[in-house]
């Protein structure tokens, strides 16, 4: 008798599940794919798997939020731990899709400042929206921050900003004189007013990281707000591009655990291990993003030259502003996002 394909598939997956239970513990870890997830596999996932003796299965989703919602709706999620913008962890927690973290079981998290944690999430890696510029154009007098970006007399040239309010509103407020540590809650009206001033001088409102890199590499824009990893990649290819961490808008992705995750205990162990300073210190070997655990910079694994290129190193973090994902997931933040589209069009 021939069995139907679906029956075979079903039986074999049941067999695999049974085998999994007997074998070593495992979790399913989800990140955003691409070069970034590949780098993590070498830097974080393989060392953690070895340290804990567990199997880490991977999945990727560039935008995990809709999938989190769908999995939560079934009541039987298949993911355990996700690496996603902190906002997803927080609103997921508030809507009952994400588990509260028991920090007593995550001792490594105590190295992290309170700003890096929420009841549902803990920071994992850092990136920053920095001011990048064309070196040929500005020579030995490069722009130093958002006030210079707004100064079209002192720094003539074409400009590009991200077509998104997050980090852009913050930059406008810094340019308008708001101290970096007193940005929140954002004065949205003031930020849009200040953005209105620079709007006629913006050549491109970019939508993807690749586009921002292309604008810099081709010299289409002389001053660009872009993610530090993208700028560093363009610089490495030999384009005359420079950037400054001064006034950078520091952001991080976080780890969080799905409610009713299939392997909750192993998931917690994984989160703790992923924050181990020595393992976190592997990040910069593979990608231009910074470790979330500041103790990683004390392990001796990251050279001072390398630390200077990373958004989360203590010296660089001190001259940047930390973006508040909590504010952006509040009703005011959502409203600011809605206002953005009509601002761009008018």
């Amino acid at each position: 008798m021939r069995m139907k394909f679906t029956t075979v598939a079903l039986l074999s997956s049941v067999a695999m599940l049974a085998a999994g239970a007997v074998q070593a513990q495992q979790i399913t870890f989800v990140s955003q794919g691409g070069a970034y997830q590949e780098a993590q596999t070498k830097a974080i996932l393989n060392p953690v798997a070895e340290l804990l003796g567990i199997t880490i299965r991977q999945d990727s989703s560039p935008d995990a939020w809709p999938v989190i919602r769908t999995q939560a709706a079934t009541g039987k999620p298949i993911w355990d731990v996700i690496d996603t913008p902190t906002k997803d962890c927080i609103r997921g927690g508030e809507q009952g899709f994400i588990e509260k973290l028991d920090f007593a079981q995550i001792p490594n998290a105590s190295d992290l400042p309170d700003d890096y944690k929420s009841p549902y999430s803990v920071a994992y890696e850092f990136y920053s929206s920095v001011l990048a510029y064309n070196k040929d154009k500005y020579g030995d007098k490069p722009p130093q921050g958002w006030a210079d970006f707004w100064d079209v007399e002192k720094f003539p040239g074409t400009r590009a900003l991200r077509n998104h309010p997050l980090a852009t509103l913050e930059a406008a407020l810094i340019a308008d004189g708001v101290p970096r540590d007193k940005l929140y809650p954002l004065d949205v009206d003031r930020a849009f007013r200040k953005l209105g001033e620079i709007k006629p001088h913006i050549t491109v409102w970019w939508t993807s990281g690749a586009q921002s890199a292309q604008l810099l590499a081709d010299g289409e824009a002389d001053l660009v707000m872009a993610w530090n990893g993208r700028v560093a990649a363009v610089e490495k290819e030999g384009a005359p591009v420079g950037y400054t961490f001064n006034d950078g808008l520091l952001q991080f992705t976080s780890l969080c655990i799905l409610k009713n995750a299939p392997n909750p205990d192993t998931a917690v162990k994984f989160v703790n291990a992923a924050l181990t300073p020595e393992i976190q210190a592997n990040f910069p070997t593979y990608i231009d993003y910074g470790p979330a655990n500041p103790a990683a910079y004390d392990t001796g694994k990251i050279s001072p030259e390398r630390a200077a290129q990373l958004p989360s190193s203590p010296a660089n973090a001190a001259v940047q502003a930390l973006v508040s994902e909590e504010w952006w997931s509040s009703p005011e933040g959502e409203e600011a996002q809605r206002r953005w589209a009509s601002f761009i069009q008018r």
Partner: protein, 290 residues
Amino acid sequence: MAVSHTGPEILHERREQRLTLLLLAPALAIVICLLVLPLLWLAWQSIRADGGFTLVNYQRFLTDDIYLISFLQTFRIAIIVTVVTLLLGYPVAYAASMAPRHWSVLILAAVVLPFWTSVLVRAYAWLILLQRRGLVNSALMDMGLIDSPLLLVNNEFGTVLATIHILLPFMVLPLYATMQKIPRELTMAGSSLGGSPVFVFTRVFLPLSMPGVIAGMVLVFVLTLGFYITPELLGGGRTFMVSMLVSRNIEIYHEWGAASSISVVLLLSVFLIFRLSTKLVPFERIMGTR
């Protein structure tokens, strides 16, 4: 005459109708399952809220001026693209239909070949050509025609230009199909009766080619209304067409209802345009089947 009278001819006709319907059934089932049901689902999403009925998604059309702005911009771009493709496509189709066979094959191949290249690749190609340090600007500056680069892309101009390029085959092909079927004897008769070439063209050829003109215009117009790649890549964030409004709504409101309502309104506008244009030309001719 008795209405209930059923003669043999009528019975035969009914049997034939039943048979046609039966033969059509598989195709109809596919259309209903894959097209009609998803569209109804889309419309349903736009009026449904947590267990109830809502018009909140449609209220935004009145309260949020970004909807009006982007619909106006989309229709303006669609009109420009349609008119320019017609002006460019008509001579090309005319040449292809008049030229000797091997020449017309060559002309049509030139029209269709780019059609097989990915839209994405062609949009990026325009970016390379048109940007500040792109080929067009450097050439113009080297020739001393301009001092500083022209803004050719990252605006509505670049979007319109690339969209015209991409949609040109949709204008040329229906035009060519119609022109080819115009009997040559008619223009010859016009000439032999003393009509000048211009007179013969405007009084004989042009009116006979009108179904192709309308067909091409409707196709290009409707396709432009839903264009996404060119405004997204070449619009510089300022060109905001309806398709981008759909994706932005999913990002901002995180629900399908907001995006569905825009699709429904766009779909209804397309239906309306089709309805008006079929008053001018029968539907079968627009689709090129007759």
